[in-house]
Assembly symmetry: C3
Homo-oligomer: 349 residues x 3
C-alpha cells in the first residue's frame, strides 16, 4: 500500500516556498499535465508552447511564473522557477511503500556486516562480509552486495542491483535495477596471441547524491579506483569503464559508453548514445550531442558533435558514396582553383 | 526434463494447415537448417540462395513453396509462405519444461497480491502488494515484481526480470531476463547547478503480445505513462525513456535508444544501434537503418539513414578530415562557378 | 574476509619467472601505479610516458624492462614484457574470499542436476534439471541457471547472472553480473502485419577462457547454435544476436552490437559502440574503430572505420548540412572540370 497524499494549496505554497494566488483551502492529491489534469490535481506551466493547454486546463491549481498570472484565472502557485517547483512538488506526491525498517528473514547477511537499525533489507538480498549499510538505506529484493562495501545514509538500491566487493557509495544515492557496480575492468595483456587477464585491484568510489540508471555498469579500477563524483546523474544502459573519473553534477544520458581512464569534467551534459574514447579528457561544462564520438580531448567549454544528418536512405546513400570520394573531390577542386588562378594571371599579363 | 516431441508429416500438415506431398507416416522430432538436417528432422526452404542445400539435404521433410516442388524429390510440406510455416512449426518443437502450475515455497508473495491458480511462480520471486498475476503466467526465478502491477494471461517473465511498482502488462507478453520495466525516467530540474530529481509519477502500459529482450529497460512516465502498444517486439539492450509511445507491431532491434517523449508510429522497423531524440515523432511504417540518429520528426513513410560507409581507416581518415572542410569546399566551388559564369558571359560579349 | 597476500621479491621473481635486481628479502603486499605507490607496494613501468613517475616513485619494487634498469636505482623485477608480468603479478594480489566449497542452503538445485563437490553455490542460486556444474566452479548469489546447462571446470559466474536452458560453457570462463546467455534470438515471421515468433531451438556454445562482461547478452540460435570460441573476451553491455560466431581470442569492447548470423574472425579487435550488421563476415585479425558500422563483409585483415570527426557543434552543423549536398557538389565539380577541359582544348586549337 502506498500512503495517501493530499495537500491544501496553503500547505503546498509553504512546502514549496512559493506564493499562493487563489483559494488556500482547495486541496490536491496528485499531479498531471495541463492537458490531462482533472479536479483535485495539480499541474504546472513552464513552456510557453503549452499556453493553449493552460487556458483550457481542468487542474485545481497550476504552478506558473508570475508573468503568466494574468493568462490563467484559476488557483496558482506563483514561482520564479516553475519547473523547479514542479520537481519539488512531484516528490511530495510520490507513492512510497509504507514499511517499518526491517530485515526480511530471507535476506542473507554476513555476521560481520553492519546494517543500521533504520535500514530496510528486502527478501533474498545477500550482503557480504564487513559491508556497512547506513541509516535509512533501502536495498531492494534479489540484490547482491559483496564484501567490504559501504552504502551511505539514505541511499536506495532498487531490486536486482549488484555491488561487487569494496564499492564505496555516498549518501542519498539511487541505484536502479539491473545496475552492476564494481565489475572487472576490461584489461588484458597479450601473451603470444592470448589475452592474460589483469586482476582489477581498484574499486569504485561514488559520491553523494549520485543516480545510476537501470542496467548501467560501472567497472572497478585496475589499480586506482573508478570515481563518480557527487551529484552525477547517469541514465540507463550506460557503461563506465575502469579508472574513469566523472566530475561533479555531470549528466550522462542513456546508451552512452565511456572507455577506460577517460576523465570527464564537472557540470557536463553527455547526450544519449555518445562514445568517449579511452584516456580522453573532457573539460568542465562541455555538452556532447547525441551519438557523437569523442576521440580526442576537449579543453574548452562548449558544445561538440560528430556524425551526419538523417535523410531518406536513397539520398543518404548517394551522399555517403561521395563521402568516400571527399579527399579526391577536394584535390580536384584545388587543381581547378590553381588552373583558374593561372589563367587569371595569364589574362592579366 | 523437456517433453518429447514427435510428429507424423500427416499431423504436421494438419497443424500447419499446409498440403503434404510425400509419405504421411514419416515422423520428425526436431528441426534443422537444410545443410545440417539429418534423418528425423524437418527443415524449410524460403531463400533461393540455399537451392544447392535443398538439393543435398538429408532432412526427412522440407517446408517449401509449391513453385519449388519439382526441385526437391523428398517429402514436402507445401506452403504459400514457407517462412511463416517454419515459424509455426518451430513452436511445436520448442522444449518446454514439464511442470504443474505451482508457487515455489521460496517465492515471497505479499498477502494482498492475487496470483491465479494456474500461474507458475519460481524460486525467490518477490511479488508486491496488490499485484495481479493472471492465468497461466510464468514468473522466472529471482524476478522482482513491485506493488500494484498487473501481468496479463499467458505472459512469461524469464528469470531475473524486474517490474517496478504499477506496471501494467497485457496478455501473452514475453519479458526476457535482465529486463527492467518501470524504472525512473531521467528527469531533473536545475537548482543553482544541482540536479533536483523529478519524481516519476506515471507508470508503464504494455499491450498484448509484446516481447521485450534481455537487459532492455523501459522507464516509467513523469506524469503520463510510457506506452508500448500491442504486438511491439523489442530486442536486447534497448532503452525506452519516459513518456515514449511505441505504436502497435513496431520492431526495435538491439542497442537502440529512444529518448524521452518520442512517439514512434505503428509498423515501424527500427534497426540496431539507432538513436531517436526526445520529443521526436516518427510516422507509421517508417524504417530506420542501423546506427542512424533520428534528430528530427519524420512525417512520411519510407526508409531513413544517417552516417557514413565503412572503409579502411587510412582512407576514412583522409575523407573524414575533408568532412571538416566541407563548408569551405562548397563555398570555394561556388566562387569558381561564379567566376566561370562571368568569364563565359564576358567571352560571349 | 579476503586472504592476506605478502610476497618477498625473491618469491615474486620466481612466481613471475623474471630476474630480480635488488634486495630479495624486501616484501610487498599490494600493487599501485608509480605515482601512487608507497612503501610495501609493487609497481610497474611499461610506458615511456611515465618515466618521470618512475624516477620519483616510492614503490618498494618496480617491474620494468632491462633497458630501463639504469634509469631506476631501486629494487627491480626485470621482465622482457613488463605489462604481461604486471598482469601476472596482479593476479597474485587479487583479494579472494576465503570459503570452503559449499552449497548455500538457500540455493535451489534440481535433484537431477549434478554439482561437483568442489563447486561453490551461493545463496538463492537456482539450478535447473540435468544441469552440470564442474569442478571448482563458483556461482554467485541470485543467479539463475536453466535446465540442461553445462558449466566447465573453474568457471566463475558472478552474482545475478542468467543462463537459459541448454547453454554449454567451457572451462575457466568468467561471466559478470547481469549478463544473460541463451535468451531468445530476435526472430519473427510476418503474418498479415503481425509478427509470429520463431521459436529459438538452438542454444549457445561458449569455449574455454571466455570472459563476458556485466550486462552483456548472448542470444541462443534459431536452429543452429550461437558460438563464442575459446579465449574471446567480451566487455560490458555488448549484444550478440542469434547464430553469431565469434572467432577465438577476439576482443569486443563495451556497447557493441553484433546482429544475427554475423561471423567474426579470430584475433579481431572490435572497439566500443561498434555495430555489425546481420549476415556480415569479418576476416581474422581485423580491427574496427569505435562506433563504426560494419554493414558489409570484410575479407582482408586491417583496420576499418566509419563516421566523422568531432568538432564544435556550430562548425559541425555547417559541414553536416553540406554532407547533404555532397552528390550535388560532386556533380557541379564535374561540370566545371568538363567546361574547363573544353576551354583548354579550345584554347589549344
Amino acid at each position: 500500500m502506498a500512503k495517501l497524499t493530499e495537500f491544501s494549496l496553503a500547505s503546498l505554497a509553504e512546502l514549496l516556498d512559493v506564493e499562493l494566488s487563489g483559494d488556500p483551502s482547495v486541496s490536491v492529491s496528485s499531479m498531471a499535465t495541463l492537458g490531462r489534469a482533472r479536479t483535485g490535481q495539480l499541474s504546472f506551466f513552464s513552456n510557453p508552447r503549452y499556453l493553449a493547454d493552460l487556458q483550457k486546463t481542468r487542474a485545481s491549481a497550476v504552478i506558473l511564473h508570475p508573468d503568466y498570472r494574468e493568462k490563467y484565472p484559476g488557483n496558482c502557485l506563483l514561482s520564479a522557477s516553475p519547473y523547479l517547483s514542479y520537481a519539488k512538488a512531484s516528490r511530495l506526491f510520490e507513492p512510497r511503500p509504507i514499511h517499518t525498517p526491517a530485515i526480511d528473514p530471507r535476506a542473507s547477511i554476513h555476521p560481520s556486516a553492519r546494517v543500521d537499525a533504520t535500514a530496510t533489507i528486502h527478501a533474498n538480498v545477500v550482503i557480504g562480509a564487513n559491508t556497512f549499510i547506513g541509516k535509512a538505506v533501502t536495498v531492494g529484493a534479489n540484490s547482491s552486495i559483496g564484501a567490504d562495501c559501504r552504502v551511505g545514509e539514505g541511499s536506495v538500491l532498487h531490486p536486482n542491483v549488484v555491488l561487487y566487493q569494496g564499492v564505496n557509495m555516498g549518501k542519498r544515492c539511487c541505484i536502479h535495477s539491473g545496475a552492476v557496480i564494481g565489475s572487472d575492468g576490461f584489461g588484458f595483456a597479450q601473451d603470444d596471441g592470448k589475452h592474460i587477464k589483469i586482476a582489477q585491484l581498484g574499486t569504485v568510489q561514488i559520491g553523494d547524491d549520485v543516480e545510476i540508471g537501470a542496467g548501467s555498469t560501472v567497472d572497478r579500477g585496475a589499480l586506482d579506483d573508478t570515481i563518480i563524483e557527487a551529484g552525477v546523474k547517469i541514465d540507463n544502459l550506460v557503461q563506465i569503464a575502469h579508472n574513469v573519473r566523472i566530475g561533479a553534477n555531470t549528466l550522462i544520458c542513456g546508451c552512452t559508453g565511456i572507455a577506460g581512464s577517460a576523465v570527464i569534467g564537472k557540470n557536463c551534459t553527455i547526450a544519449g548514445g555518445v562514445g568517449i574514447s579511452n584516456h580522453v579528457t573532457v573539460a568542465d561544462g562541455v555538452t556532447i550531442t547525441a551519438m557523437s564520438l569523442v576521440n580526442r580531448s576537449i579543453t574548452m567549454q562548449g558544445m561538440y558533435s560528430s556524425g551526419t544528418f538523417l535523410t531518406d536512405t536513397l539520398t543518404w546513400r548517394r551522399n555517403a558514396v561521395r563521402f568516400g570520394q571527399l579527399d579526391n573531390i577536394s584535390r580536384r577542386l584545388r587543381k581547378i582553383e590553381k588552373s583558374s588562378d593561372k589563367k587569371d594571371h595569364g589574362a592579366a599579363e
